[in-house]
């Protein structure tokens, strides 16, 4: 088990979605869990998410999506993360994610899928337990 202090998370808001209440709540939960969190803020392109993850040497790449564009975004992000050598890091996504999309998100490499209503501790526990 890695010391919680060393868990580095880059949490991004993909695309044009401006609903960041949930993302900021999750950032605060992660800070309280002792994670080292870098929150990118809004309007991140796939390229910017990759750059932030590289810069922060992230163990965990987390997305928060509320506006429905998660599948096209993640489809574009996946090859970029892999090309950047981040394919083995833990990818997680939360937000307004309809149940019908969960399998597709997992198939795209998002091991943790946390739809609205997920408990904060469940997110942090999942990350601790699933670090590569």
């Amino acid at each position: 088990m890695i010391d919680a202090r060393t868990i580095k998370v880059v949490l991004a808001k993909p695309g044009l979605d401006g609903h960041d209440q949930g993302a900021k709540v999750v950032v605060r939960a992660m800070l309280d869990a002792g994670f080292d969190v870098h929150y990118t803020g809004l309007r991140q392109t796939p390229e910017q998410v990759v750059a932030a993850a590289l810069r922060g040497n992230a163990d965990v790449i987390a997305l928060s999506s509320m506006a429905g564009s998660h599948l096209p975004f993640c489809t574009r992000l996946k090859p970029l993360l892999e090309q950047a050598g981040l394919g083995a890091r833990l990818w997680v996504i939360g937000g307004n994610l309809p149940a019908q999309d969960h399998a597709a998100l997992r198939a795209l490499g998002f091991k943790g899928v946390f739809p609205s209503g997920s408990r904060l501790d469940a997110i942090c526990d999942f990350i601790r337990e699933n670090l590569p």
Partner: protein
Amino acid sequence: MKSESLVRLVRNESGLPIEPLYTAADLEASGGTAMLGQPGKYPFTRGIHPQMYRKQPFTMRQYTGFGNAADTNRRFKYLIDNGQTGLNVAFDLPTQCGIDSDDPLAEGEVGRVGMAVDTLRDFETAFDGIDLDKITVSLTINGAAACLIAMYLAMAEKRGFDLKRLRGTAQNDILKEFVGRGTWVFPVQPSIRLVGDTIEYCAEHAPKYSPVSVCGYHIRESGATPTQEMAWAFCIARAYADEVIRRGMPVDEFAGRLSYNFNIFGNLFEQVAKFRAGRGLWAKIMKEEYGAQQPGSMWLRMIAGGGGGGLTLEQPENNIVRGAYYALIAALSGAQTMALCCYDEAYTIPSEYAQRISLRTMQLLVEEMGLADTVDPLGGSYYVETLTNRMRDEMERIIHETDAAGGIVALISDGTIQSRVSAQAYRMQRAIESGAFPKVGVNRYRSDGAEQHEVEMHPYGLDDARAQIASLQGVREQRDASAVARALARVETDARGGVNLMPAIVEAVKAYASVGEITRRLVGVFGRYVEPLRFDHRDPAEQAT
């Protein structure tokens, strides 16, 4: 009654203690009826008009828009055919952020959470066949508001409506976008300038149009308490008023067209008291601080919306019932306009079925429940009047505290307000997860997934986006390229020159310049907003307010 002897202590979300019984003595101790007055008379606590809904029931205005302008036009007509009396337009995120449909940044988002608008052509289609004298239109647009207000005025003028008589509203409250909702484009100062430009321009050219609807709503959604919601909305409205007054326009020439957008969820009495308190306080601010003379300048005109923040993903059918209570609150509070988030909105763009339920909920209040018969029906209740006084005192305290700390513009610019509301949202989320803050179907009376009602998901197809892009390209080919180039050059010159930008933007939209083209010119001069990301306010002791 002494709180210490109670079986359980109760505080409302605004932090005020709630007693088990209120009497004349409580009301007297809270300041009595000094701020009560009569409806239609200063300080308007009981309502801005003498007869309120007896004369005209609240406008029913569901938030609607998806796909392209033709799709949205069909839904508008469906709602109007079902008795809706106003329209509230939802735009997709590229439009809201000033990005054209064919921009790579728009990929996957065109027409998804609202209607895609690139040029005036889209507005012509969206409002085709709708009588703009009978149906007032509200545009939920902020970062790109100057462009879309210009487009709306140009469309109405082209169809022969008299701009001097044209009514309608634009949200156009950029300061709250920095706190929550996030469809900003430019930095804080040029953003405020653009709001000032729209207010000035409309006061002169479309004097019945409401160019700004100041939103407590989204600040509340981001984690603010009900008193903070209203107090900070007033601070923001003052910032816009100060900008216009600084340019030399007297307060009574524009203040009557400022309107508000507030949120409803949570405790019924706290919400009703919030609205009644807010009406009195806004009137007092406008009269005493700004020296307004016209009653209209002192009116807190508002849309009160049943808020998404109260609805739950769990047991979505409960949201129909919540919506009914929220609508009742809005009616008891004397809101001019009402809207309800639909029961399926935690999942998807609302279906026609869900929209109709929301509309019927509001119609039932007028037609069956007697809510349109008598003004301010809760007026005179010891509880409601005492709470109204206490809530107003608390709002004033928050305004003074905000001013003393440097003012709302400074506190939003440096991220203080954002950090405070997100700290509060975090504490609320923890309280919901622990069960300390009750939420039916979430931390009480849960049901397993098997009996969960299925929600019909709104379909989204990439064909819509392709069609929108093709349509934009068609407009680009047909328009007079030299007129567009001239107009865009003028936008840039005027942005540098510091004159009112609206005439140049109106000229550009009339030449069928796109929202993205105009916005890019402005970004070239103003730059882009950079979020001040802060996660302080982590010590609960700091959260006393």
